[in-house]
Every structure is written in structure tokens, then in C-alpha cells.
Amino acid sequence: MTLPLAAHTFLGIRGAYWNVTALKVAAVLGIALGGAGAFVYLFLFKMMSHMQSRLGPMEAGPHGSMQLMAEVLKFLQKEDVFPERADRWVFAAAPAVVLMSTFMIYVVIPAGPRLVVANLDTGILFALAVSSLSVIGVLMAGWSSANKYSLIGGLRAAGQLIAYELPLVLAVVGVVMQAGSLSLQRIVYSQAHFKLFGVGGFGLFAIPQFVGLFLFLVAAQAELGQTPFDMPVAESEVVTGYMTEYTGLRFLIFFIGEFATGFALAGIGATLFLGGWYFPGYGLHWGNLAWARELVGLGVLVAKVMVIAFLIFWVRFTFPRFREDQLQAFAWKYLIPLSLVNILVTGVAKVAVHA
């Protein structure tokens, strides 16, 4: 007698649990690695170069598009060095913890009416919770490296991630209040139906939640450790912080994690503030074009992610880094009070509009 396997579905594909799970894992890996690669090539290689009046990589493939392959191969060839006094297991596991926290964010980001790995009712809560798990990996890396630069960098990173987690969450609260749901799909739908003073068809929350968008962008910048907030890896002070002792594949994992998290956070920002996969004119009821709907949704979401990412990297390539005390003061003295005011105003406005 064979045990009946529960049928699961993903994108309308029915299959056994493990088959569908493999499909979902492949989807997350593909999006996360592809997104990280696109970020590195488009922004780190090309946009930064042009902002510095140069071309960036041009030799490997057309316009250097195969440069990423070369970089990855280079890292794979390198020796996997463990410092003599390192706590080997913790040292080896730390990059995996960071990468895991990154991949888990992708689980809840919807890229179409059905193109979502897990449509959790508490999607945004889950995303923010798992994104803050990376602090543990960073602290593990910093502590286990047995290096003063790593330790200082790890502690700085932990302090920064915790300080900016608060404005990030509080900025999201405004959107959640306006949408009335924690589910990312619900938030997208409520943006699709959102009307400002009786005028609809914007399809985004960036207009009423502009303060929230600003807070989210600043906090995301800090969460990602992008340049004005790159104190944890400030090369002139702590070499590369918690990544100092890492080489080869493990360094590559940190590096991919940084940009894959960037893609994920930009995806969350696009979903919360720019309407996610929806755009005005999108046929929510294109009944018989199910696949086209998902593909268009994915394209729209990626385009919006690129808009958010452009803002983040633009700031990154423009400004020098904050001092450590300025960085903390900025979060606690300005961003958090501002986000609390935003929540208050959102609440009052919501009650006033609905009353």
C-alpha cells in the first residue's frame, strides 16, 4: 500500500509535496541569485562607474556582462582560509546564516496574483522578522574570527541593524494601517483599490505614505550597510569588519547575501509603497491569461525594484559615510520619532476618512 501524498500546488502546478517544494526552492534561488547578479552588474559595475566618469568592466562579454561569471569563478578558486584561533564551526556557519535569512525574505514577496511562494497572512511581519536574523550571522562571523577588526565590525553591524530595524518596522506600520492587513498580497490589492480624496487609479501608497517611503529607504540603506551607513565594513578603520577573515566561497556568500538582501528589501519596498506587481490598467480579471498575468506582474515588480534600487545605490555612490555616533543618533533621535509621528498621523487620517 502506498501512502497518499498530499497534493500541493505552486503557480497552478500540482504535484507531490517534495516536487512542489523543489520548484519553490528553484524559484527562490533563481530570483535571489539573478536579482543579486543584476544588482551587482547594473548598479555596482555600471552605474557606479558612470557616476565616476568611467565605463566599468567592458572586456568580459558584451559591455562586460560576463564579468560576474569571472568574479564568481575567481572566488571559487580561492583557498578557504580559517584563522588559527577561529571558532571553526561558528566561523563556517556564519555566512550560511546570513544567506538563509536573505532567502527566507523571498518566500513571501508576491510577484503576481498567484506568483508567491507562500502567501502568509502575516507576510510583512515574517519578512521583517527573518531579515533581522542576519544580525545573528554577522555577530557569529565577527566573534568567531578571532580578530579585533572583525569583532568591532560585527558589533557595529549588530548595533546598526538593531537601531535601523526600528524605523524600518515603524515605517511599515503606516502602510499596514492604511491597508488594514499584514499580508503582502492584501497590501497590493488595497493599493490597487486605493483612492485619494475620491480619485483612484494611482495603484501605490507612496503618495499618502511619502514619509513612510522616506523612512523605509533610509532604514533599508542602513540595513543593507550601503555607503552612508557602511560603518561596520569601513575599510579605513576596520578593514572589512566582520568579513575581514573570510576568503573565497565564504566571502562570496556574504557578498551575494548583501546584494540578494538588497533585492529583497527593494522588493518589499516596491510592494509596500509602489504597488508591487500591480499597475493601473493591469487586468486583475484577465481570467484566461493566467500565465501572462503572472509574467507581467513579475516584470512590473522587477521594474519597481529597479526604481527603489536606483535610489538606494544613487545615495550609496554619492555620500561619504556617517561617523558611528552620528549614525546612531540619526536613527534614535530623528528617524524613530519621525516614524512615530507618521503612525499617529496615519491613524488620525484613517479614522477621519472613514468616519
Binding site: M47, H50, M51, Q52, S53, L55, W314, T318, F319
Partner: protein, 174 residues
């Protein structure tokens, strides 16, 4: 058009956001302006005509005075010569003693392109040429002998015209 006057307090409050906006504008304008990179092996850079690329030797001007070799901070110029007799200039005169150049080598693997030899040469035998593509896989081949140094002479640009009111060059021999 003069900017409208703003109260000082407003101006001070706007300083930070205006500063941020200015920075963002700078990087954005740089991005859209396009890169200045010259993709060197594929396209050749236009160096300035008086760039210090390589030193050319005009052999007939050299008198083996050794000033350049002695001034060279890197000691990368090697000169050997001998005295020779030439027929007298005038009928019935004594034969002239002239210095003949046997060897004039510049080791470009040592040269630091200071140009002191060019400056110090009293007979205009050394000139700067803007050519720069003469790297070699073998370091010994960076030693250019007088024949090779003489070939560079073709690439030397015309000397710039003298300034107005400058002393005319004297004793110029064709």
C-alpha cells in the same frame, strides 16, 4: 537673475537637504554626461603633443660630452665614443679632431622620464617624443641602442615657435 532673499533661519534649515540634493545632482549629471574612459587597446588615446613618451636621439648632434649620462639620476644612459680625425675645414688647415659616438643606450627599464638629459644636452641631441607603445616581454629589450633611439626622432613633434621678443637662436647648423 538674483535669487530671492530668504531669512537666515530658513536658509540654515535648508542647508542640509540642499546639500544632499546638490550631491545627488552631481553624481547624476556625471552619470548622464558619459564616461571619459579611452578603451586603450581598442582605441588609441590622443596624448598631448609634448607628452613625455620616449627620448629620441639625433646622433649627428651628439658630441659625446657625457653631460646627460652624468646628470641622469638613474644612471640609465650608457655612452661610449672615440676621437677621430676629419679633413680640415679649409684648404691647408690642420685635420680636425671630432668625437664619434660608438654607443648610446638608454635603458628604459630604469628611466624615470625626468627629462633631465633632454634639458641638459647643450647641442639639442635629445628630444621628447610622445610615443609610448614600446613595452617588451623581455626586460633586456627595454635597452634602446642609438639606432633605435634615432628612429624615435621621426616622431618628435616640431618645436613650438619662440615667444615674441625672444633671443634668436644662434649658430644654428642645418
Amino acid at each position: 537673475m538674483p535669487r530671492p532673499e530668504m531669512p537666515e533661519s530658513v536658509e540654515r534649515a535648508l542647508e542640509v537637504p540642499m546639500g544632499f540634493a546638490k550631491g545627488l545632482k552631481t553624481t547624476f549629471m556625471t552619470m548622464v554626461r558619459g564616461a571619459v574612459t579611452v578603451q586603450y587597446p581598442h582605441e588609441r588615446e590622443d596624448v598631448t603633443p609634448r607628452a613625455r613618451g620616449v627620448i629620441a636621439l639625433k646622433e649627428e648632434n651628439c658630441t659625446v660630452c657625457m653631460l646627460c649620462a652624468r646628470q641622469c639620476p638613474d644612471w640609465c644612459i650608457y655612452i661610449e665614443g672615440h676621437k677621430d680625425k676629419e679633413p680640415p675645414r679649409r684648404e691647408g688647415g690642420k685635420p680636425r679632431t671630432v668625437s664619434k659616438l660608438d654607443r648610446f643606450d638608454i635603458d628604459y627599464s630604469l628611466c624615470m622620464y625626468c627629462g633631465i638629459c633632454v634639458e641638459v644636452c647643450p647641442f639639442d641631441a635629445l628630444h621628447w617624443s610622445p610615443e609610448f607603445e614600446y613595452s617588451e616581454p623581455n626586460i633586456a629589450d627595454m635597452l634602446h641602442d642609438k639606432h633605435r633611439l634615432g628612429l624615435w626622432e621621426d616622431t618628435v613633434p616640431e618645436a613650438p615657435a619662440l615667444e615674441a621678443g625672444a633671443e634668436a637662436p644662434k649658430g644654428k647648423k642645418k
